[in-house]
Each structure stands twice: as structure tokens, then as C-alpha cells.
């Protein structure tokens, strides 16, 4: 298992390399001169050239890219922000925890509610509850997130005064943003859980479990849920990834100083090192999340675990001793 994890982590490296090259190339060919933004408009062309030289913008593509990679690998240095002239890694690592936390919290909200609703509507298929939760879930999914966020603020912060409207200084501040994104994702997880659960409930082993005399509760939670959860994990991972990169709107509405807003602002300012860093960091965490999900798979599903551990003790069925003599 450990070998597998290490192997998977090593496999992330080429992905990140590819992404860095991709985004570096994309931004390299983006029109626009960063000195336009960071220098006064009346700065002379010489001063600009000088600044470009300082920023290293005048060097050929491969030299720049090589340097960039080298600094990341050797010093974990993602370059210097053009606008603030601070280390990008420092700035990113200040912002990133907020985004990460938001992604985690909203994934938890979405998972808890999505899974519970999904199970119940699968078990009570075609009842009013089922239809209602499907419709409500879909409605939540269809709502533009900014609209939902603002509505929640008006209700819970302004009218009821239960929660702060913005900022995440206290744990209370996390509730609304997490619920906003979470609500948006509940529908996906709920539908996945529901269909997966329905699929599993059709299987013979469920009937077998029933035929053993187990109570319905046991059948659902001991036998059906574990199996039904496996495809749901993928969905959870995906929503997590989406939140990581796409919480811009929510961050904006709830004033969370996360990476999304930071990146968008940086794009406006042609602040490429920040954009590259943000994309790489996000991709890295997303990849790690996927790894985590794969490990989780292995925990839940012994078949998958077996693939990872094949080198160790794979029992070839044929070597079984038990056979009936005639």
C-alpha cells in the first residue's frame, strides 16, 4: 500500500510538470506587458525595458521556464509577484488555507446532506420524499451561486442576525459560505448516491442479505451503503476540486481571502507568477485529493486494494486446499 502511495505521488510529478509547461506557455503567449500595470503610465520606454529586464521578461522562453522550474524544485520558490514584489509562495500559502478549508467544509456539507438524502430517496423510491428532494436538490444546483449566497446572507445575517455576513474570523463565518457551495453540490452527490444505491439494491447480494434475515436497516447500512458509496467518492472528489478552483464567486460574496479571487485579480494585473503558482498549487492539491480518494477506495473496496498490493500476498484461488474428494 505504501509503495502504491509513493508511486502515485511520483506520478503526480509529471502531471504537475505538464501543467506548469501548459500554463507557462499559455501565459507566455498572452498579449500584454506587465510593466504597463506595475509602472506609472508615463514611465519611459527605457525604464520599462529596464523593468522587464529586472523581471526577467526579456529572456527566451526556455530559459525562463527552466529557471522557473529550477526555483520551484530547489527552493519551492514560485517567483516574485509583479505587483507586490513579494514572494509568490508566501502570498499563495497565506491565501490557500482559506480556499482549502472552504473546499473541505463545503465537501463535508454536501456529502453529509447529499448522502443522507440520496439514501433516503433511494430507499423510498418514487415517494413524495424522493421526488421532493430530487426537485429541491436540482433547484439548489440550478441557482447561480452568487444569488444563493446573497439570499443566505440576507436571511441569516441581516434579518435573523444569526451568522456574520462576511469574513471568516470565527467558525461561524464559515457556515454560510460552506453551506452556499455545499448546497450547490448536494444535488450531484444526492443523485449519485441515489442511483448508485438503487443499482446496488438490485444486486443479488442484497437479496442474499435479506434472505439471511437481516433487518432492512442492517441491509441498507451494512451491505448496500458501502458498495453504493464507492462511485459517490469520485463525485465528492470532483466537487472538491471544483470548489478548490471555482470558489471565486463565493470567496467574493463572503469576503474570503482565498486563492480564487487572488488569481482572478492577478490575471487582470498580468501578474503571471501568481497565476502560474495558483494553478499549480490547485492542481497539486486536487491531485493529492484524488490520491486520497484512491486510498479511500482501497479502504472500502478490497478488490481495488488487491490491485495495489498484488505483489504481496495474492492468493491464487487454485492453490486452495479445500476440495471435495470423491
Amino acid at each position: 500500500m505504501i509503495r502504491f502511495i509513493i508511486k502515485r505521488i511520483l506520478l503526480i510529478i509529471p502531471v504537475l510538470l505538464g501543467i506548469s509547461l501548459l500554463i507557462f506557455t499559455m501565459l507566455y503567449f498572452t498579449p500584454g506587458d506587465p510593466t504597463i500595470v506595475i509602472m506609472p503610465q508615463d514611465a519611459t520606454e527605457e525604464a520599462r525595458a529596464q523593468m522587464r529586464h529586472e523581471l526577467g521578461l526579456d529572456r527566451p522562453f526556455w530559459v525562463r521556464y527552466g529557471e522557473y522550474l529550477k526555483n520551484i524544485v530547489t527552493k519551492l520558490d514560485f517567483g516574485t509577484s509583479y505587483t507586490t514584489r513579494q514572494s509568490v509562495s508566501v502570498e499563495l500559502f497565506q491565501k490557500f488555507p482559506f480556499t482549502l478549508k472552504l473546499a473541505f467544509l463545503s465537501a463535508i456539507v454536501a456529502t453529509v446532506f447529499g448522502v443522507i438524502l440520496g439514501i433516503v430517496s433511494a430507499v423510498r423510491q418514487y415517494t413524495i420524499f424522493d421526488n421532493l428532494s430530487t426537485v429541491i436538490g436540482l433547484a439548489a444546483y440550478s441557482m447561480p451561486i452568487f444569488w444563493l449566497g446573497m439570499l443566505l446572507i440576507i436571511v441569516f445575517a441581516v434579518n435573523l442576525r444569526w451568522l456574520p455576513s462576511s469574513g471568516v474570523a470565527t467558525w461561524k463565518g464559515w457556515i454560510l459560505p460552506a453551506v452556499t457551495i455545499g448546497t450547490n453540490h448536494i444535488a450531484k452527490i444526492m443523485r449519485m448516491t441515489r442511483s448508485s444505491m438503487l443499482e446496488v439494491m438490485r444486486q443479488d447480494y442484497i437479496t442474499t442479505a435479506r434472505a439471511k434475515g437481516l433487518e432492512e436497516r442492517e441491509v441498507i447500512f451494512k451491505h448496500a451503503f458501502g458498495n453504493a458509496f464507492i462511485p459517490v467518492i469520485t463525485t465528492i472528489g470532483l466537487t472538491f476540486g471544483q470548489t478548490l478552483g471555482g470558489a471565486v464567486v463565493t470567496e467574493r460574496v463572503f469576503s474570503i481571502p482565498g486563492i480564487g479571487m487572488f488569481m482572478v485579480d492577478s490575471i487582470r494585473m498580468l501578474n503571471y507568477p501568481v497565476v502560474q503558482g495558483a494553478v499549480l498549487l490547485t492542481a497539486f492539491s486536487f491531485s493529492m485529493m484524488n490520491l486520497l480518494i484512491d486510498i479511500l477506495y482501497a479502504f472500502i473496496d478490497p478488490r481495488i486494494k488487491a490491485q495495489y498490493m498484488k505483489k504481496k500476498k495474492h492468493k491464487v484461488p487454485v492453490t486452495a486446499k479445500g476440495a471435495v474428494q470423491s
Binding site: K310, V316, V318, A323, Q325, S326
Partner: protein, 317 residues
Amino acid sequence: MSTFLEVSNLKKHFKTPKGLLHAVDGVNFKIDEGKTLGVVGESGCGKSTLGRLIVHLHEITDGKIFFEGRDITNPPPKEMKILRKKMQMIFQDPYSSIDPRMTVFEIIGEPLKILNLYSNKEDYNKQIDQIMDIVGLAKRVRGAYPHELDGGRRQRIGIARALVLNPQFIVCDEPVSALDVSIQAQILNLMQDLQRDRNLTYMFITHDLSVVKHISDNIAVMYLGLIVEFCETKALFKAPAHPYTRALLSAIPIPSVHERRKRIILKGEISSPINPAECCRFAGRCIYAKERCQQEAPQLREVTPGHFCACHFAEEI
């Protein structure tokens, strides 16, 4: 009678994550024109792979195939096209072996289109109608989609698709095992009729010994990628030489109240074809296994005239 199809030392190895899978591992046999070779064996022993190799659905790892005396192991594309006309295959699963998005008419007509075997539209229609008539498909199902038809009819479509090219040789990969007995009998009869009328040569793959007995002239028994016994059908059922064949024969439940045979019940199950050891592959389950079986792989040899068997002790047991 001339040798129609000959296979020599045919091998197919699949690369899998766990190692090299020896699906077919050096198989030799001959089929005469107009005859049926039955291939039996347990699940996973390489029957289908063998059949596919012969009709060139898999790339051949090693060995040679001769058809009507010519080497067709690696035919150039042009010759391949001609071969396709001569050799066809009927598949096991009547559900997945026909494209669900085509009508019966389209499915049967497709080979004609691809190989351009009709002169005009009329001819095209006529050929299809003819073949449908031959396999017993009523005209009114022409426009039907597969999902509207039952297994028996679907299997007839599969047969028609193969027959429309007027092949000489057909590999039948368990064509009746997915069907109920009453339908199975209908299809078997049809296939026999066709063979008689068109002088077809069959390679008939199955795991059902009673079917194979009914339809074949010769039988090859496969075990783990190898042919362990090969002879005339009658000979095999009269005097099976290989211990595996014996066990197989005795294991078949007979639908009769009066017959009770002594059964040989094998231990364990067929072992993995991945990197098999150099020994008799059946040794692990064989009740007669001796030391030699563990050390040396037996060759297929002629134990009595026309009766081949791959067992060191075929004569003794």
C-alpha cells in the same frame, strides 16, 4: 478428403499486469472439409481465443495456420478480404453480438456492403431475403431491431450474417450455450442442415459435451491453452484416454432416471494460465498424477490410431 484447415503450434499470449497469459499455448490440429471439429473445455481454457485466432480477430503470437493448403498466418490485406469471405464466425452471446442500433436487414446486409458483393439494389435485397429464409427468419422481422427479438431469433441473425458471405468455414463459439434447450435444439438442427446443404466446415466450440457429441465428427479437448485429447467423436466417448476427459465425461449430469455412473470428481479448479509451469498442466487436479507429471510436460501423441492424447500414462490408466 483433403486437409481443409491446419493449425500448427499456434500460440497466443496476452500481456496482463500480472504476467504473460498463455491463452493458447501451442495447438496443433487439422479439420477436413465438410466436417465439424468440436472443441470442448472448461471456462477460460482458451477455446474462444483459438477460434478468434483462426479467423484473425487476434494477432497470432506464434505458429502457423494453413487454409486449403495455403499459409494464411499473416495474410496481406487483399488476401485478408478474400479470407473474410471464406471464414466466418458465429458468436456466443446473441445479445451482445449484434449491433443494437441496426435493423435485422441492415445487420445481415452489412457484410455484402463492406465486401461489395452485390450487383444492384435488387440483388442486394434478394440475397438478404434468401438468407433470411434459409435461417428461418420470417420476412416481417426485416425491419425489426434486435431488442425486439428473442435470443433464438437473434442467434439466427448472427448465423445469417455469417452465411450471407457464403463462407466455407465457420467458427461457432458456443452458439447455443445462452439458449434454452428447446431453442437450442432448433438452432442445432439449423446448423446441421446448413452444413449438409452447403458443405460447410465447422469448428464448434462449446463446453457442453452432449452438444458436441451430437454435432461433431472430431473432438479436441482443451485444458489451459493446450489440446489434451484429439480424436473422432465416437472414439472419445467410447474410450476417453486423458484423465481430464474422463472426469469431464463423468461429471455431466444425465437427464435420465436409470443411468447412474461412477463419477470422478476433480479437486480444485482450472488454474491460472498466467506463466504456467513447465509440467503437465492438469497434474494438480489429476487423481493419477505421478512424479513425472510434475516435471515434464506431456506431448500430444497418438495413443491409438487417430486418437491423440497428451498424457504420460494414457495407456496405463
